[in-house]
């Protein structure tokens, strides 16, 4: 079974409603680093600094401002943002079925899988099969977190995948990028066509790998063999299950609180 779902609800259209969970489809391959203090290797926090008063600003003194010009802002409160956020929803309602070929890859944002929840397996398999056979994707609006997304649901290798799409207004106009038409020599055109034909191959993603990531991983392995890792003070394994993020946040707040005493 895939990991815990990011969201659960139903995918529906017409009279069909299938309980599903949304799970991650990709794990970005970036190797990430924590910033440490070079003296005792404590993990460092990002704090907000006021250059005017030359001091750290506590979170309860921080507000959000939308910049409208030099030194001019509109302050927006949490409540105001909240009031324009969409209602949480438990359905992915398919509005239209389209041909995925019509969607240029420039619209693709982020991929997920939809997996069937208990009781939805049969209907799910049926939908996967039919969508695969008809080669159609469902377009839907879908609220995740604070935002409403425009998404395409399609059949991918025996499962349903969901890709969030960019809204049209997010796509930069390409007029400036398209060169003005010029006369093309017919023989030049056919030469390029021929080259492309010769170089045509199947899509085989296994052939490609992130070389830098490989090298960094190798470097880390080598360093670990040569020398024991440095340890931050008070580093302890936290007990408790499933609340890793919250606990990390609380521990971090606890540390700042102790320092401020």
């Amino acid at each position: 079974m895939p990991g815990q779902g990011i969201w659960s609800g139903t995918i529906s259209f017409s009279l069909v409603a299938i309980p599903v969970q949304l799970v991650k489809a990709v794990e970005p391959g970036r190797v990430s680093f924590r910033m440490l203090h070079n003296r005792d290797y404590s993990p460092l926090l990002r704090k907000m600094f006021c250059p005017e008063e030359e001091k750290m600003v506590p979170t309860d003194e921080i507000v959000r401002g939308y910049e409208i010009g030099p030194d001019k802002y509109i302050v927006v409160t949490d409540e105001e943002l909240e009031s324009v956020s969409p209602e949480r929803s438990r359905t992915i309602e398919i509005i239209d079925f389209i041909d995925m070929k019509e969607v240029d890859s420039i619209y693709y944002d982020h991929p997920y899988y939809l997996v069937p929840s208990k009781g939805g397996e049969k209907a799910y398999s049926l939908l996967v099969e039919v969508m695969h056979r008809t080669n159609k994707a469902g377009l839907a609006k879908f609220v995740l977190g604070e935002r409403e997304y425009f998404v395409a649901v399609k059949s991918t290798e025996g499962a349903l995948s969901l890709v969030t799409l960019h809204y049209n207004e997010e796509i930069l106009p390409d007029e400036d990028m398209v060169p003005k038409e010029r006369d093309v020599e017919p023989e030049e055109k056919s030469r390029i066509e021929k080259t492309i034909k010769e170089m045509t191959a199947g899509f085989n993603p296994d052939k490609y790998a992130d070389e830098r990531r490989k090298k960094i991983t190798k470097l880390l392995e080598k360093k670990l063999k040569e020398k024991a890792p440095v340890e931050a003070p008070e580093f302890e394994e936290e007990e408790g299950e499933g609340v890793v993020d919250l606990v990390a946040v609380l521990e971090e707040s606890m540390r700042t609180m102790k320092k401020n005493r």
Partner: protein
């Protein structure tokens, strides 16, 4: 007796329900009448659990969750679904008449859930019930309450504290999102309790077991449950003396903790009446503050 145009027949007014202190049912009715404008907003639309002491605080008591069938017709009620799927009729103390009627039943203590009767699964507060173990006292609770407040304010959550009227303190974090569930508040409060235990192992425990509580304050996060109730702010407690569950301002708590006298933390019924008449309801913020749990 007539309250707001409705006649109530009151019984046993002379009965001393706090015998070692000398506090009769008439005193109790008078207390609740005078505190009514402050306590009613906190009782409103919540399923009341009556804790009745018909023979006084030194004798037997019983809990009554179901609204007595002999109730007057004007008592507002709600239907609450129970675990077995059955529905139960509960009293809603939404007006002075009902409050007086309930007190005439010698329900000295008024217990209410953290959610309203029309949305019993959606808490509008998260609570930390600080309970001192053996050899710990309310001063230790005050230290823990102040740490809790500090930690919560780091997360931009405002919190409010009241005495339990017994040995402990209750820290409330008001919430206003309908979709918050007891599962959320339980998970959040448990994580907070465990982080405090981890950082102050000599003072705090997040574990229920009595033997783990010696000299420590138990942060009872498990009160964040639809089946649990909390003593309502301004309710009397059935102890030797008529103490009240009463709100304290944070700086007041800090001062009292500094003075080191646990008795000074307790608020009697008379202090409760004079303070609310002067200062209003300091716990009102719990009903009006708008905030949501982060990192969930």
């Amino acid at each position: 007796m007539e309250v707001a145009g409705i006649r109530l027949s009151l019984s046993n007014l002379e009965k001393d329900l706090y015998p070692s202190y000398g506090f009769t049912k008439a005193h109790i009715l008078e207390y609740y009448r005078r505190i009514s404008q402050f306590i009613l907003p906190h009782l409103k639309d919540r399923a009341l659990t009556l804790k009745r002491y018909p023979e006084g605080v030194e004798k037997e008591f019983f809990f009554e969750k179901r609204c007595p069938s002999h109730r007057p017709s004007w008592v507002k009620t709600a239907e609450i679904p129970q675990n077995d799927g059955e529905r139960m009729t509960v009293c809603l103390v939404n007006d002075l008449n009902t409050l007086v009627w309930v007190e005439n039943l010698a329900s000295l203590e008024l217990h209410v859930p953290l959610a309203r009767a029309d949305s019993p699964e959606a808490p509008d507060s998260m609570v930390f019930d600080l309970d001192p173990g053996d050899q710990a006292d309310i001063l230790d609770c005050a230290r823990v309450a102040l740490m809790l407040r500090g930690l919560l304010s780091q997360l931009q959550l405002a919190s409010y504290v009241k005495t339990s009227g017994q040995k402990g303190l209750h820290v409330y974090v008001p919430l206003d999102r309908e979709e918050t569930t007891f599962e959320d508040t339980k998970r959040f409060s448990k994580a907070v309790a465990e982080v405090l235990q981890h950082n102050y192992p000599d003072l705090v425990t997040a574990k229920m077991a009595k033997e783990r509580r010696i000299k420590k304050v138990f942060i009872n996060w498990s009160q964040n449950d639809s089946s649990k109730t909390m003593i309502c702010v301004y309710s009397l407690r059935a102890r030797e003396k008529p103490f009240v569950s009463f709100p304290l301002a944070w700086n007041e708590l800090e001062n009292l903790a500094g003075q080191g006298d646990p008795e000074k933390m307790q608020v009697t019924y008379s202090e409760a009446m004079s303070r609310t008449e002067k200062e209003g309801d300091p716990f009102r913020e719990v009903l009006v503050t708008k905030q949501k749990l982060p990192y969930l």
